[in-house]
Amino acid sequence: MMNRSEREFDCSWVQVRIEAHLDGELPDGEANGLETHLRECAGCAAELELAEQVRGGLRMMPLLKCPDPVVEEVYERVRGELRATRRRRLREWMDSWRAPLWRPVAAALVVVLMIGGAVTYQDREPEVSPAELARAELQVKWTLAYLSQMGRRTGGRVRDDVLWERVVEPIQKSVNRVMEMETM
């Protein structure tokens, strides 16, 4: 019959405590019991050796250097934001200074423009020559080809990210729902 101490320090008990033992966090009594077991159990000794290898391997993994272009982009963005803020504040200051004088003039100008716009109807179908229409078609195709090429170069990530969750997957689900209804 096993005595109480032998039952405490069996393999399942030891396996759970190997990591804590490696880190020196077991109380003395438990540490001694564990070491005694390891002297007698080849299986658990091998586990300890593997645990040491894992911890050592992790600690050998190098600290990495963040590539400079990554940080440079951040600085560019910050400088750009600061510039845009300054520009906006200057605009706001100038607008506040000018506003009282320009209000009636601006209002009159807008009315004249709106009258002109209503008469000419900006968005009526434009008169274009066949050559201009052909060029427009070419421009559409170039844009699509360019975007498609860029899309392929990103390795299909557009499909997997926002597009998958917000566009492709919901569409697939609704198509599946329709198909289910048709088979019922």
């Binding site: 272009p69 982009e73 560019e76 963005r77 910050v78 400088r79 750009g80 934001e81 510039r83 845009a84 209000r103 009636p104 209002a107 009159a108 807008v110 009315v111 709106m114 009258i115 716009g117 209503a118 008469v119 109807y121 900006q122 968005d123 009526r124 179908e125 434009p126 274009v128 229409l133 427009a136 078609e137 070419l138 421009q139 559409v140 195709k141 170039w142 844009t143 699509l144 080809a145 360019y146 975007l147 498609s148 090429q149 860029m150 899309g151 392929r152 170069r153 990103t154 990530r157 557009v158 499909r159 990210d161 926002v162 597009l163 917000r166 566009v167 492709v168 919901p170 569409i171």
Partner: protein, 197 residues
């Protein structure tokens, strides 16, 4: 005060009568001009500005032979492409303005979905979604170290459809749209693009 009220009412009335599609109010539109100052000496490499009326005409013209293309164009309100050269002394400023543009777009709900960074090339792709719909697509950055490019598509977009349709069109011959700023580099790029297919 009464004069301003009358003028304002007249304005509204005329606005409703005369206004068409206001592209600038559409959520997928990117106001490039608010962030970007194209240097005066910059040479334009490509410029496309196709609004809804002309796009409808293109759609009608292509419907018989390319119905899927026509259907896709029907949902688009604007295709805008702007490419220009950037001299070395302006490079830092233009890059900062692009970065500020990106920040502004992200604040307005645009989401970056892809990025290409290879050597001197840096391109960002953004989408503006509205629930399940995609209202806008924006691609911007530097294709070459000295050429900035911006592509904004506004409307009811299906990016997968764009990819599918676009892959049918061979960009090399279409590249004649690029202005003859640098003939040698354009043709070289065309060769590379062909090889990638």
């Amino acid at each position: 005060m009464r004069i301003y009220l009358c003028l304002f009412s007249l304005l509204i009335a005329l606005g409703s009568a005369g206004a068409g599609e206001n592209i600038e109010k559409m959520s997928g539109y990117v106001a490039l001009d608010q962030y970007l100052t194209i240097p005066t000496e910059a040479e334009t490499s490509i410029e496309v500005f196709l609004k809804a009326p002309l796009l409808r005409m293109v759609s009608a013209a292509t419907r018989r032979d390319e119905p899927e293309l026509a259907e896709m164009i029907d949902g688009i309100s604007l295709i805008r492409v702007q490419g220009f050269s950037v001299a070395a002394e302006n490079l830092a400023r233009v890059r900062e303005e692009i970065a500020a543009l990106a920040a502004g777009m992200e604040e307005n709900g645009w989401e970056r979905v892809a990025r290409i960074r290879e050597g001197d090339e840096l391109i960002h792709v953004y989408l503006k979604t509205n629930g399940e719909k995609v209202d806008g697509l924006m691609m911007m950055g530097f294709e070459n170290p000295d050429e900035a490019i911006f592509v904004n598509i506004v409307g009811d977009i299906d990016p997968a459809q764009i990819g599918r349709l676009g892959s049918k069109f061979n960009i090399a011959p279409l590249d004649s749209l690029r202005l003859d700023r640098k003939k040698a580099s354009t043709s070289a790029r065309g060769t590379v693009l062909e090889a990638e297919k």
